[in-house]
């Protein structure tokens, strides 16, 4: 239905008074705002010298968490690979060593293609044992495509580096695997 003339309310801007018509007070007002901004705190972040302070839930490079014995927490359940919309996670599972009583499988290889990854964090969401986490490492660079394909050792070393630097403390309770991995009582 087209808009009828009677439904339209015309709003007119207020007329300028004497001060408005003299323009100068308004210009002075504007200038004071402009000058005020000059002395305000600057928002520029001088990047290479001054690193950004990122929130802990920042989604940067992945890491594979270790448990209290230093083993990878991952139980090779493929949940992350299934959840991944970019299909960048490749896992080869193998039966866990006999002395690992808390799980049946472990990842023989665990490869993430950091170039394919879209850093959505779905793998982190999907993981039942909190074995994969995204860190606040944001300045990921490499000289070739091959360098950007992270294998299990590399992902574990990311864990070592980030926990040692204290930038990304482990966000889950250390030691025990998540509830999904615990044997039924």
């Amino acid at each position: 239905m087209p808009i009828a003339e009677k439904d339209v309310t015309w709003v007119s801007s207020p007329k300028l008074g004497l001060l408005g018509q003299l323009y100068l007070p308004a210009i002075m007002d504007g200038l004071s705002t402009t000058v005020g901004h000059i002395f305000q705190k600057k928002v520029t972040e001088q990047y290479p010298e001054q690193e950004p302070k990122l929130p802990p839930n920042y989604r940067g490079v992945h890491r594979l968490n270790r448990d209290h014995e230093g083993r990878t927490k991952c139980v090779a359940c493929y949940m992350c690979a299934t959840a991944c919309p970019a299909h960048c996670i490749d896992i080869v599972a193998a039966p866990a060593p006999a002395e690992w009583k808390d799980r049946e499988k472990y990842p023989e290889t665990f490869v993430i293609d950091e170039l394919r990854c879209i850093y959505c964090g779905m793998c982190e969401e999907a993981c039942p044992v909190d074995a994969i986490e995204l860190t606040t490492l944001y300045d990921l660079t490499g000289l070739s495509r091959e360098q950007m394909i992270f294998d299990k050792e590399k992902l574990l070393s990311v864990f070592d580096v980030t926990t040692k630097a204290g930038t990304d403390p482990v966000r889950t309770k250390a030691g025990a695997l998540g509830p999904a991995s615990e044997p039924p009582v």
Binding site: P14, L22, L31, T34, H37, Q40, K42, V43, T44
Partner: protein, 413 residues
Amino acid sequence: MPTFNLLYTVLIIGGVVGVVLGTVAYLILAERKVAAWVQDRLGPNRVGPWGLLQPIVDGGKMFLKEDVIPAHVDRIFFLLAPMVAFGTAMLSIAVVPVGSTVPVPQPTLTATVEGEPTPLQQYEASQQAYADSYTFAIAPGLDIGILYVFAIGSLAVYGVVLAGWSANNKYSLLGSLRSSAQIISYEIPLGMSILGVVMLAGSLNPEQIIHQQINGTWNVFLMPLAFLLFLVSVFAECNRLPFDLPEAEQELVGGYHTEYSSLKLGMLLLAEYAHMITTSFLMSILFFGGWHLPGVTVVGDVSMLGVVLKIVVLAAKMFAFIGLFLLVRWTIPRFRFDQLMTLAWKVMIPLALLNLVGVLVILQFHLPYWTMTVMNVTLFVLAGFWGVVTGGNVTAPKRKVVKLPPGLPAGVV
């Protein structure tokens, strides 16, 4: 006129041109810095301490960039335009006294007294003293000084017009069309607003105008309205915001210099900044007493310190205006073209005329000078009242609005 000394003139040309070009280079840095600060950023700070070497790098970039002359341009005018723009900008600084000045001695009516030099001898002695004095203008003692600046300043529009026309590009052409209309319109209030100053000093010589202000008061206190009109016209003449329609990036890509690259672009930009410096000097000289600052500079002080102080005072006034240029850019949004024309023809030219008539009346009837201030302020406030009484607003304009039949787009009647 001081005796012409080739060496001294060459030295002062070298000094003034060098300082102006250096200032222009650093003005570009200042523009970027102020823009950044106003937007709560830091601005260029990578080249040298606080980015102070940035102008050198920028200049080097301008030199080293590929110089493209598109195939569709009118080559002669395309090459001529930057030269005209740059040349006129540099020429107009020639008569501006950049330091201390000595007024041209005027003939006086004195009776001959026995035992004293005759009036003719006195006059010749004063002329000799003037000829021996050092001046800080490239062409000192030019009796048509201000007229010369305005004549050359009007020529500057040719640089813009030629650049826009020869580029054979619709955006350049639109930019230069706007610019020519704008500059021609604003030349009138620009010239008329200073007529009062010229009449008061009785001379077009900037040195004379400075000394008239030293003996009386700064013209800005006598004629605040004339100063305001001059300031606004200068903003329009320099294509600075809020009057930067010739190079409105949002509408015209780059305006008249869209097709220019490398050093030719650099020259066009340089010319604009040089124009800003010249007009800032003019404002300081015409309305703010030039190098005069009570308590700091002393008339007739020719010691090293005194001369340096005068230069510093004048430069400080000049840079204050430059700072205003830079700040206003981030304060007032751009005018619409009809608003621009309305301001010039319906507000500023009548006000400048009324101011001129007022000054004429005051000088003719030898009224005290403070009446000039009263007259100026009254005119300004009356203009505001007139605006309140007659003006409409954006949604209810006072001018006739043709109601279009439904269905037709605006502009089709």
